[in-house]
Symmetry: C2
Subunit: 549 residues, 2 copies
């Protein structure tokens, strides 16, 4: 029994493209003498299809796609994820299913039991959970227990679900566990995911063949990292991270072997390297899948735009990126030289367009109303917004897509200008705290100084008024980021955070800033997600509210 | 047995404020000799609390609030909605509960069985459904079947859930059905909701006491309209729409009466009047609950900004609204006179700030790059964005909040400028198709011409280039809006829509526009929801996708 794992980068709703990729993988697997090839969860339509699932037309196209894939399954079987229609007269209209295809037709359908409905997941919005039909599928004398992603995840000490489908399947004496997944990346996910699969293999003393999505789907980044776990819990093999892959395994090579020594954990990847690779993939897939040729961004000389530029150049190629310096009367000389140096280091073309004339004319137009009122955040915001006007004009005229350069610390406390520096098609760093942006900059510079050292060394400043520093308005980022992490990622309340030794006044001030700036985050671009709790679809907060605010 | 229904406008997370309102209502009900007073679902924390429910601190405050309300329950009982902790070792950590309070303490807790998880609802994200504990609560010799909102909604022909909690409760011989709800308004909701409650009363031959939320919660508008249904299905009484209310009923007044003739349906309210009242409440509550004193908006002379201005003046008072005319070289004379006339009709102060100087300076700054490239959508967008720069500067300097004036037809097909006319704190008309905006304008002008007739009569134009008309880029709104309705509200596919007689090329073009403009809608302000399918939290679509696009 030779089993192929096909780790593919799908495009949501692109049935023709997805089916073509699946068929090519079937052909490759057959060529490598595989008996069966396994694809990911909801492979034919891509993941997450979201409310497209509410369209009958979309579901019909899923069925047509499955039938087309089935025709390709001659002398090879395939497990492919797709929605299926719930025939019962009550309950939600769909199941999240694994189709077992062989001999040119659908042999069996297994439905997902455990539907994740937390963080970025909304599966209970669309799907009825499987409640009774637990089947193993026999093929060429092997019995396959086919599970779908979350179905294996209910083994924690405080389980989220009252059912455990693998317990039911185990009673049917399977030989192999197959798990088809759509498990997005975050920097803490890899060991958690491995632990779940290893525990499953050991508990049931069965091999686990796990196939994940790979690629960026707007904000969601799928790392792939499909794998095979031996019955003793050894990680037998791991597919590539952040790229497509297809590998074939001979089940007998390890099925009947039992190691006596404890299994060696595979080496942990470094967090910041994973983040780097995930973001590069995320930018690349956003542009490629949207059909956008080239990116533009404003280069301030600061750390955020510098890191964004490097990642964009790596993702798209230097010649596909345009950097624009947009100085005003408050821009310092070192900011301009740093920005130019960076663009030259990266081979990225750069232009300089002063906002001074536009700023002056807007001030002038408003003079009859503002009279001699003092310069304040209004004039700071005007500058940031005029930069957006210029960048978006270049975007519209030449077909660039604007990259947003905000970081998570700024987004959290509202230290940014709505319709100004908060603009963009996609936010590259919006899930990295400022201290993590520095970490990423140092990682980027590990072998060669791409980002000028002075950009990293100087105190951060928005340069929107004379001598401005971030530290005028915000606490030290080292403290700010820790408090934000406790509140956002760890969901701790004020008393718990204060209990960890932080100044009560500061904690209350920061939590209030986070909550009262929900209205700004509502209008930000989608943010490439790398943490366990990113702003965006995985964190849903009321705007109008009065809690810690 | 005297039962009071307390229909209250809560503020999410404002425990002190909500508890104070609840206690005041208890005192009023007791003064009116009520034996029991019923409040809405999740009353103590407001609805929807969204991810605040994931904070232990938030849940703790809910418990403190319930205990505080219980103390007030002397010589009167209360049914109050709040989350409660699921004590089981598996399943989600919370229940969505009804607390029965009497004699200063918690007498019983009933948990919600059916958790809506569609459209704007995410309840399965937070709550474990009740699976076994069905209890009636006996108080002063009456047996109360306490249900929570969706618990009564599984009576349709093709039910969404496999369970029916009211069937279980009916076996326990209750005397009264109580339903505590959080059922947001849309223009088709009233008859559906009444049908559900009437069918319930008739099926079980029991009176139904139904209490809903009232008030705006960012985009969600709760209409109140709490009601009492007699066992024969008669609507015995209905509380106010769109405002707080408290009424007391003597159960014996109608409990044992049986009418012989069929019940008279209460008069249907006119759709456009409901929409009008809902939007006025939505604006008012957004400003009041956010603590914003006054609104600003750009007045173009067109229909959208005219209707928005009237609604804002009704919601906030004319003196709290500032209108700004922002003409460019393309603004027509009649637009300016219409805009001025409207502001004067409404008693709203207005200023005129030309964007011409700023537009010229931006064109000038970009000249070295744009050279002699032709005027196109870029220059149109620059104008729209400079208007936003000016409006946001006034907002920042003087504390106005910008009202967005986009309509649903524009948002659907992307006929608007991101960071330009798509800006704002809240979108007033974003859930009304252009044809509905006209309908609303005519309703507003029913008794007096508030909106100048020429604004309604002239062909719509963005006035961003010479002689521009919407009809240059878009099909007639009467056709466009029908196709959009079929796709967005009815979720029909292209073949179904074409099957209704529309031109195939046009249908495909429009559906493609809707899907490829998802990225713009992602960054729009929250939209006051009045339809069964509004853009925003109730319609979740991938941005990067290739479906009908």
């Amino acid at each position: 029994m030779r089993i192929a794992l096909a780790q593919i980068n799908y495009l949501i709703g692109d049935f023709d493209g997805n089916v073509a990729k699946i068929k090519t993988a079937i052909q490759k697997a057959r060529y490598q003498l595989a008996d069966i090839v396994v694809f990911a969860e909801l492979a034919v339509c891509g993941y997450p299809p979201r409310d497209f699932l509410e369209f009958d037309d979309f579901i019909r196209r899923c069925y047509v796609s499955i039938e087309s894939v089935a025709e390709e399954c001659q002398n090879i079987a395939a497990v492919v994820g797709a929605p299926s229609i719930n025939p019962a007269s009550s309950g939600k209209p769909l199941y999240n299913s694994a189709f077992f295809l062989a001999d040119g037709k659908i042999m069996a359908i297994s439905n997902k039991t455990l539907l994740p409905n937390y963080d970025i997941f909304d599966e209970y919005r669309y799907f009825e959970p499987n409640r009774q039909l637990y089947q193993v599928i026999e093929y060429k004398n092997y019995r396959f227990a086919i599970t779908i992603c979350e179905d294996l995840w209910n083994i924690l000490d405080n389980p989220l679900y009252v059912r455990n489908p693998m317990e039911e399947l185990a009673k049917l004496n399977p030989d192999v566990i197959v798990n088809i997944s759509a498990s997005p990346f975050h920097y803490d996910q890899e060991p958690i995911r491995k632990d779940v699969l290893i525990r499953t293999a050991k508990t049931y003393k069965l091999p686990v063949f796990y196939v994940n999505h790979v690629g960026g789907q707007t904000e969601l980044l799928f790392d792939g990292a499909s794998m095979v776990i031996a019955p003793d819990g050894t990680v037998f093999d791991e597919l590539d991270y952040f790229s497509e892959d297809l590998r074939v395994y001979n089940l007998n090579d390890f099925l009947y072997k039992r190691k006596n020594e404890p299994s060696q954990p595979s080496p942990r990847r470094i967090k910041i390297e994973l983040i780097h690779d995930a973001l590069v993939m995320g930018i690349r897939d956003y542009f490629k899948k949207m059909g956008f040729p080239k990116a533009i961004l404003g280069l301030s000389g600061g750390i955020d735009s510098a890191v964004t530029l490097v990642l964009a150049a790596k993702a798209l190629g230097s010649e596909q990126v345009k950097a624009v310096l947009l100085p005003s009367r408050f821009s310092s000389g070192h900011s301009i030289t740093d920005a130019v140096q960076l663009a030259e280091n990266m081979g990225v073309s750069h232009d300089t367009i002063s906002i001074e004339e536009a700023f002056h004319s807007v001030e002038n137009s408003l003079q009859p109303w503002f009279k001699d009122m003092p310069f304040n955040v209004t004039e700071e915001n005007i500058q940031a917004r005029l930069r957006a006007v210029i960048l978006m004009a270049l975007s519209n005229k030449f077909g660039y897509i604007l990259l947003n350069t905000s970081n998570k610390s700024e987004d959290a406390v509202g230290y940014g200008t709505l319709y100004g520096d908060m603009c963009g098609g996609i936010s590259v760093l919006g899930d990295l705290y400022k201290t993590e942006v520095y970490e990423l900059a140092r990682f980027i510079n590990k072998y060669k100084e791409l980002i000028p050292e002075s950009t990293i060394a100087k105190p951060p400043s928005a340069e929107l008024r004379p001598g401005q520093k971030d530290s005028d308005s915000l606490p030290d980022y080292k403290i700010l980021d820790k408090i934000l992490y406790l509140y956002i990622e760890q969901r701790k309340g004020p008393n718990e955070i204060i209990g960890e030794g932080y100044d009560p006044t500061l904690v209350k001030k920061i939590l209030k800033l986070v909550n009262t700036n929900e209205y700004k985050r509502y209008q930000t671009p989608p943010i490439l997600r790398v943490s366990p709790k990113a702003f965006g679809m995985g964190r849903r907060m009321p705007i109008v509210a009065k809690y810690l605010s």
